[in-house]
Symmetry: D2
Subunit: 330 residues, 4 copies
């Protein structure tokens, strides 16, 4: 058993992390941090947390108090800039669900995140924890971005088999990907019956994907009128290998990532509220390119589920402990 503190538990990533911790057989919730809800009972976040049948859940405390709670595992569910400023508590495993520690080079923050990293000297201590490509290797884990996870699940196993000049990633995400903060773009009147790309050509997940692949990619995200889930449609040209075979072999033993049979397309609806991912592989008849499509839940495999998976690997728990992988809900 390991004890857990969640800092930023009232955001989307925080609530989803809390959800999985409560269902995890080997994690015990120790501290629930939220600066806006500090002092209030858990039910203040969601009435479901105040019901019959729930294990006793502690009251909210401040994020600082949660960080200092001495828990074995600390999940940072904060904004990029807030997380970047955190001094990691000694001895705890820390998983940062933000982008605050995903790059060793602090210049990336100036160039892509719009702030100068407040603790650049510590960046080298963090590892990028994508279990299927770059498993966590240290007690400070930078949890990958949701788009980056989908793109890398599709492309990382192929990185040596594809031409480096021709990779395009076109992604579409539900609205929770942008967090609970109120902005003009998050207003339901803008999102409903709408679709639009955003931060075209300049989204911060582009350098994250490129960094792992080792070459630049074109990446465009779009906002979907759905609550959860993400699809990344990736276009690549094989140097010769059978890309489907490469992917099938890479994921043959995975209980988290599935390569779908030929002709079956990934669907948001099948991955929503799960911690798994689906990959479809297709040949383009006209150009001979290969189209690899990855679907996952931005809050599951794209955030909280992956954070738990990383902890499972670090603590030697079963890799899928506490994950949502088995439902066939409509």
């Amino acid at each position: 058993m390991a004890t857990v503190a969640v800092a930023g538990a009232s955001g989307y990533a925080g609530q989803e992390t809390l959800d999985r911790v409560l269902a995890h057989p080997a994690l015990e919730l120790w501290a629930l941090g939220s600066d806006s809800l500090a002092g209030q009972p858990a039910g203040a976040l969601d009435p479901r947390l105040g019901r019959n049948g729930w294990s006793r859940i502690p009251r909210f405390i401040t994020n600082e108090a949660a960080l200092e709670s001495g828990a074995d595992v600390v999940f940072l569910c904060l904004s990029h800039e807030e997380a970047a400023a955190v001094e990691p508590p000694p001895r705890s495993v820390v998983v940062d669900l933000s982008g605050g520690h995903r790059f060793a080079d602090p210049a990336v923050y100036d160039a892509w995140y719009g702030f100068s990293h407040p603790r650049p000297e510590g960046l080298e201590s963090w590892c990028y924890g994508l279990p299927e490509a770059s498993p966590p290797a240290g007690r400070l884990v930078a949890n990958p971005g949701c788009y980056a996870t989908a793109a890398l699940l599709a492309l990382w196993p192929l990185r040596d088999e594809i031409e480096r000049e021709a990779v395009v990633i076109d992604a579409k995400s539900g609205t929770t990907g942008a967090g609970r903060t109120l902005t003009p773009a998050s207003h339901a009147g803008v999102v409903l019956e709408n679709l639009a790309p955003y931060r075209v050509g300049e989204h911060q997940h582009a350098p994250e994907i490129s960094s792992l692949l080792g070459f630049p990619v074109a990446f465009t995200p779009h906002l979907l009128p759905v609550r959860r889930g993400l699809v990344a449609t990736c276009y690549a040209r094989s140097k010769g290998a059978d890309l489907r075979a490469v992917l099938e072999e890479h994921y043959a033993e995975s209980h988290v990532v599935s390569v779908l049979p030929e002709g079956v397309v990934p669907e948001l609806a099948r991955v929503q509220q799960t911690d798994g991912a689906e990959i479809g592989v297709f040949d383009d008849r006209l150009t001979g390119m290969t189209i690899v499509v990855c679907a996952l839940d931005n809050l599951g495999k794209g955030a909280a589920g992956q954070a738990i998976q990383n902890v499972n690997l670090l603590f030697g728990f079963e890799e899928t402990a506490g994950l949502r992988l088995s439902g066939v809900l409509v």
Copy 2:
């Protein structure tokens, strides 16, 4: 442990029942019936059923073969008319998720369902299984309708405390409530960005609700542009009792139904993909009426979840075994 056969496993109610059986600690899947998929592997229904990590799932067989499989429990997930025609296998517990056995009086089928009941002599053998109002009491269980469940959770505890001439139930349901059959009204081009009432004044759940309450009610369902979930907004006039207090007492020990604190409204989003229900109670300032709002998932507490709950009660399992009640997903 009890063995289970699901007839009609490829419809929405069937798939959701299958989902809960696979997650249930004391139920073992024995036979999977679907006339359209007979002979095919489970993955033909949903690719998730063909993945790593799944317990072994049998191939589809015909519904008739599933009924004759000798399972301890048979779930009938068929159309009203198909289910009505089934001769219950001897000795099995049978839970009918359709409306085919909800009325002792066969005339209701002619008047409200549009067919004459093919086995009217057997109707008396079935009990109506709504755990919070009319717990199952025999091996043949008619599982309540989704709208009827919501209306009765809100109103059944109040039936002696309200005026019988003034009850209105206005309900709104997601599109899965109408099943997987293709109809002009189920086309996405009709459902998206739309809302409309249907079968106004003549929906078959009206007599079901009235039968349990003991007096007639006005009931109107509306189709929402959402996948799952249902809200019933019920208007009643108290004879004098504090209706909130009556409901709070009735559900004080329930792990399935929650009465929300004053001022908190039920929301579809909190009950979707769960087997629980939320109830809100409000006073109308102008008329003095009481407005009781119940939200549940039409496929959860409104269908498959309730079917499992009924089986749990009949077999003496923990009432909530296998149910989805604890998540706080966004």
Copy 3:
């Protein structure tokens, strides 16, 4: 021709009013007011306003400047409290789309709107302008609320024919009904795949409806996951008259409100982006109540369209000039 000033042109009601003014054969846009956009070109609100083919549109000025512009008609598209504080410019026709002048009795504002009316002495000068029930009769017009419009189109012609103790109005509206202001409830992550009632038993449109009908009603609004449109489902008991016949006669000559044939239900999709309304009439088989359903667009007949219709009547233009009534878009 009449000249027009729009105050609050950057909100939903303001933008829709602007849209209809630009399409109106007898109205000329004179002043475009918005405190947040003052000084900017019209294209700052919406890039469509900066395109080829548009008639020349003036720059935004402050709301105060718009009010003082000397236009023949002033549309107030402000919040309730802002509009209530406006001193009507002399000689202009003023149409207030907010609730700031819908009641002669200032006590209603304290009791239902959460503020004390800042100019109570002026309230008697305003008339309530619902063309089909209470046509505008003076130069100061309080434009009805969206819910009130739907409820009154359904019930006002029936007010003397129904029992006064038994009227329930259950309404469902798209998200634009709540305006462009950012609130936790307007966040797309809350609205999508969700439905919930709000201000149950205490919404300010209840006294507005009751005031016109002459008796109290129970009214509950719900927020739909759609952008536009509103359905009010009204339950009433006839004293004896044929309520369908009464409604058909009342609207026989209307080009704005249609009573649908028997068996046809109103649909949001058919009234969205129009200035018309549809009414369906149904008998409830169990209780004998009559269910009258009205659908309209909350921003059309429920706001900007009705404001234009009121101006048409006051100026003697054709009643439907500039209205959107003829499309059959999917």
Copy 4:
């Protein structure tokens, strides 16, 4: 004035064409064809067509009768295969909204459409009518596909300025793009809160786009949970020219297609229910590629609006007569 017959008026494209014909100052509706509604009044398609204020609309007749009605213009709103089999009535202008006459080479039908063209000898007589790239030049006009229109508006003016090996088109369309036919994929339970690509690498609009551009492209369509509208996100690499400048010059005089200012993204919501298109142009920081995004309404500029625009050009009417281009609806 010209008289009009619509064949297939009960489908989406047919209803939208009818809608525009009724609003057109120089077109007169002469014959309304639908095999399923023949003999019924226009209100059988949509109750709005039976209302006060409508110009007199003829009853439905069979498609064959509509084709033989002698109208000056015939719109074919039929399936690909039905339209392909039509012998064009002599002397009429015929606009085929299906894909039945978009290729001079009949082999394309075998390879991409799944049928052998029933009248291959006539294909040479048809011209491809995309006003901004390939204006109609004869009385038999093949109206472009919706995806092809968006891709070509974005890329056709750039065809000589971009590298031919690197063009990717990732498109997302609302559900009306697939027509009114009931299919498992059109069921609302599949479409809501979902997103999936379809016909990946083998959609029939890929050769249509490639044919106009003169080189192969990779094209993937996705189905959005919205009713109307389409976005095509196109990735290309300039040989050196300033691609934004090329597009701005190409569309400088257009009242139908707008190039948005720098930093402004196209949005479905602004083009829905219009006959215009929006184009945004962006540089990709990492790869130097140019991303050109085009949004339009699949039923407007992508179908019926373009059909009307083609007729306007052929008859010498004002190019935008009867088109919906001026609204700023929310």
